[in-house]
């Protein structure tokens, strides 16, 4: 396999990127994929990234793309460009686990709630670095740096803090994926 380094390897997070009702959601945390897939009507053309999403800032707009830390040069150029195309991000969501939901919402009815950047940055590193192809092309020292939790949180805050018009959201655990999908669909 022929790969080249991704220029965005230092801003990759365990996240999906879906379009739901014409808004692009970067979704991290626990149980992030299936409910969002239902909410976007399983439309594969609006399922931009799974599991490994790089973020960047472009004129104060946050954007994201599918990125594993290295680019597969064996793919046709047009398909490669499409696979790694950036999409504007409107919402960053962190899906709480069942226990986290109990702690956050206590006796309140669970709903999608806004949170601050510090909390979201911590959520961005709950799971390990997902640029799985980076280790095949970056040096060991560089990979150690890419995987460093403190650096990842700092980079996340640095990028997201420059974005205008971005909402940071906590999504509660729901008993079924359909109920969680409804939360996404109805969120404005």
């Amino acid at each position: 396999m022929k790969w080249e380094k991704s220029p965005y390897a230092d801003s990759i997070y365990y996240a999906d990127l879906f379009s739901i009702n014409d808004k692009n959601w970067m979704i991290m945390g626990h149980g992030k994929s299936e409910a969002a897939r239902i909410a976007n009507n399983k439309d594969s053309t609006k399922d931009f990234s799974r599991d490994s999403t790089a973020i960047a800032i472009d004129e104060n707009a946050l954007k994201g793309r599918f990125d594993l830390g290295a680019i597969n040069l064996d793919l046709e150029e047009s398909k490669r460009d499409d696979l790694h195309k950036f999409h504007k991000i409107h919402y960053i969501a962190y899906c709480l686990s069942e226990n986290e939901t109990k702690q956050v919402f206590k006796n309140k009815a669970p709903s999608i709630d806004e949170c601050d950047l510090e909390l979201m940055a911590r959520g961005s590193t709950v799971f390990p670095y997902t640029g799985i192809m980076a280790k095949h092309i970056f040096s060991n020292e560089e990979v150690n740096e890419l995987e460093d939790i403190t650096r990842r949180q700092h980079r996340f805050s640095e990028i997201v803090s420059q974005a205008n018009d971005i909402k940071l959201l906590l999504v509660p655990f729901m008993p079924t994926v359909e109920e969680k999908a409804k939360l996404y669909s109805e969120y404005i």
Partner: protein, 60 residues
């Protein structure tokens, strides 16, 4: 907590040109996955964008 992350490398097709298996790479290994699992997991790239095994091996 460790999460498996996959990327599709190439597909294998039957005599009708239909994909029946996709070779993926995960954190450490390369392995075949059936098409249904590949789609359900939302692994990238989409199957239609992957090279056929023979095309892929021809490039190596």
């Amino acid at each position: 907590m460790n999460k498996s992350v996959y990327i599709g490398i190439y597909k294998e097709i039957d005599s009708n040109g239909k994909a029946h298996s996709v070779q993926v790479h995960d954190n450490t290994n390369s392995m075949p996955l059936d098409v249904e699992t590949y789609i359900k997991r939302g692994i990238k790239p989409n199957i239609e964008d992957l090279p056929i095994k023979q095309e892929y091996e021809g490039k190596k």
